[in-house]
């Protein structure tokens, strides 16, 4: 067997992609060994959807059915944001266990470990989105969307959550502690999704809060998803806002995270 003892100069883009996919495979393999994670990916979205539709739905929208039509897009975004911490948790674990040093001492693309984590997150997001669509359908939500709109919704979700996940990644690199990343999930994701128009219409809120909610990037993402899934609201402005926010968050936090990672 001929192996890699011969030096190579650098890694081409195709090789880098293959290595990132190997890393993603490993990341998803972890799910097989920790099936509880699959529960997180499946039960959590079902639970939230049931909870909000049947506990709050009647009070907010008059009936659970009417509420689901309003809230489904927001529930999808909220759930996706909850999942956006997986890459960071994985990376923090690798940093702590010394595995990241092994990867860095190997002749592979520098980007592979993190790119693999993010790729695996895309799979998680798509899986969870599919689960939610099925649950929504069972509960009576009928998306007025063709395959193109559904694909578009999935794409927006992936772009938005990938951008957003750079924040926990940055924290994970600094803290090197998966538990701190998890805590972060609650102290940031919970308030930022609840102070959006995901679950409650904007016009029911008091003035100052309304100003923030209107500005909140999660609101933009909610409206984009709503538009793509129901076709009743305009798509352009929220989509542009979502993409702009995604670009800005990526620019700031990906830079910070990469810098912190290189500084070790």
């Amino acid at each position: 067997m001929i192996l890699t003892s011969t030096p190579t100069r650098s890694v081409g883009p195709l090789t880098a992609l293959r290595q990132a996919m190997t890393m993603a495979w490993r990341s998803l393999l972890q799910i097989r060994h920790k099936p509880t994670e699959l529960l997180d990916l499946s039960v959590q979205p079902v639970m939230f959807t049931l909870l909000f539709t049947y506990v709050f739905g009647g009070a907010i929208a008059g009936s659970p059915g009417a509420y689901l039509d309003f809230a489904f897009g927001g529930l999808v975004v909220q759930n996706a944001l909850f999942l956006s911490i997986y890459a960071a948790i994985g990376l923090a674990t690798d940093l702590r266990q010394g595995l990241h040093d092994r990867f860095r001492s190997m002749p592979i693309a520098r980007s592979a470990p993190l790119a693999g984590r993010l790729l695996a997150d895309v799979v998680r997001q798509l899986w969870s989105f599919a689960v939610l669509l099925v649950v929504g359908f069972v509960l009576g939500f009928r998306p007025d969307a063709g395959p193109a709109a559904l694909l578009g919704a999935a794409a927006v979700l992936v772009v938005f959550t990938l951008a957003f996940s750079w924040i926990p990644v940055w924290i994970g690199v600094l803290a090197r502690d998966p538990e701190k990343v998890q805590v972060f999930g609650f102290v940031l994701v919970l308030p930022i999704t609840f102070t959006s128009n995901a679950l409650v219409p904007l016009d029911t809120m008091p003035g100052p809060l309304r100003a923030w909610v209107a500005l909140n990037p999660v609101t933009a993402a909610n409206d984009t998803l709503r538009s793509l899934l129901t076709g009743t609201t305009p798509l352009g402005p929220p989509l542009l806002a979502t993409l702009a926010w995604s670009a800005a968050v990526t620019l700031v936090f990906a830079t910070a995270a990469m810098r912190a990672l290189a500084r070790r």
């Binding site: 030096p7 100069r9 972890q30 040093d101 860095r104």
Partner: protein, 326 residues
């Protein structure tokens, strides 16, 4: 290309004002084992991380396999295997999966990666544990899996950072055997250790680091001979002849002479003085109950070199630091 697998000149690294390395030179001939010996904070790990391309030196140069570790880091990574202080394995994955992951990353096809994994698991006695998550492994098994993961790419140069810290004696001996096997196969090994015994057993050359500096270098035997000298102990049958024995020892041995518990102890740099001492005592009619001449242990050499608070210990002879990473 020259015969040195690892070369370092004037490596300097500072961490927020603290000296990690204060300018060290290293030379490791291909196929040999170098032990970096030193207490915590001596700079051993920093040196390994620089040579393993994980850290850039502030000053100085290092080459592995003739390639600069900074300018040609990627190529260096193709030559080396690195086992850090913390086992670099994915605890959620099984032994096989861990090794297949490394193989796939190195460009092996699926089947080849699986074959190489099976080969290494067999070599390191992990076949029975191959399908269990690494989280269920004992400390020794995890270290062996870590070492196996470093070897998937058949590296020419292997870095082992405190490979046996925290292992029980049996696991330690197993790991030593594994390392010796690799060296027999032509691998160059640089290992760090706080254990003198480990350096003595495994290394062709030892470099003693203290506070980021090289305080001694040589073969284990050479270090013992040149720095420790030999300890001579003479015990006369009759305690009242101690004076005569001490005087004789003082005449012939150049080092310090002490009288302890009815015996005379002297440090001699040249073991050949023993016959002369015995002849002289025989002529003086002194009968000896006990004579011993032994080479200083590496412990004694180490303690005499490394400037640590433990040197203030009033009984340095009994205070061996080998077993307790402070």
């Amino acid at each position: 290309m020259d015969d040195n697998a690892i070369e370092a000149e004037g490596l300097v690294k500072q961490f927020r004002g603290n000296v990690g390395l204060a300018g060290i030179d290293l030379r490791v001939p291909a196929g040999s084992v170098l032990a970096l010996l030193g207490p915590n904070g001596a700079g051993k790990t920093t040196a390994v991380r620089i040579l393993g391309t994980l850290l850039r030196p502030d000053a100085g140069h290092a080459r592995v396999g003739g390639l600069d570790v900074v300018a040609r880091a990627h190529e260096v990574r193709g030559l080396i295997g690195l086992t850090g202080q913390y086992a670099g394995v994915d605890e959620t994955l099984t032994g096989t999966e861990n090794l297949v992951l490394v193989g796939r990353l190195l460009g092996l096809a699926r089947r080849a990666a699986r074959a190489r994994a099976a080969e290494l698991l067999a070599e390191f006695g992990l076949v029975d544990a191959a399908t269990r998550p690494a989280a269920t492994y004992s400390g020794g098994m995890r270290r062996r899996l870590d070492l196996a993961a470093s070897l998937v790419g058949r590296p020419r140069v292997l870095f082992l950072d405190e490979p046996t810290t925290g292992l029980d004696p049996a696991s330690r001996v197993e790991l030593w055997a594994a390392v010796r096997g690799l060296v027999d196969g032509g691998t160059t090994v640089l290992l760090t250790t706080q254990y003198l015994e480990e350096a003595d057993r495994l290394a062709d050359d030892v470099v003693v680091l203290d506070r980021g500096r090289v305080v001694a270098a040589g073969t284990p035997d050479g270090l013992k001979a040149s720095l420790g000298g030999s300890a001579l102990e003479l015990r006369p049958v009759l305690a009242d002849r101690l004076d005569v024995v001490a005087t004789t020892a003082r005449d012939l041995a150049r080092g310090e002479v002490t009288v302890v518990d009815g015996a005379v102890r002297a440090t001699v740099s040249d073991p050949d003085v023993l016959p002369a001492v015995l002849r002289r005592l025989d002529e003086a009619g002194v009968h000896l109950a006990e004579v011993s001449l032994r080479r200083a242990s590496l412990d004694e050499v180490f303690l005499s070199l490394v400037d640590t608070p433990s040197r203030v210990d009033p009984t340095p002879r009994t205070a061996t630091r080998t077993g307790s990473p402070a």
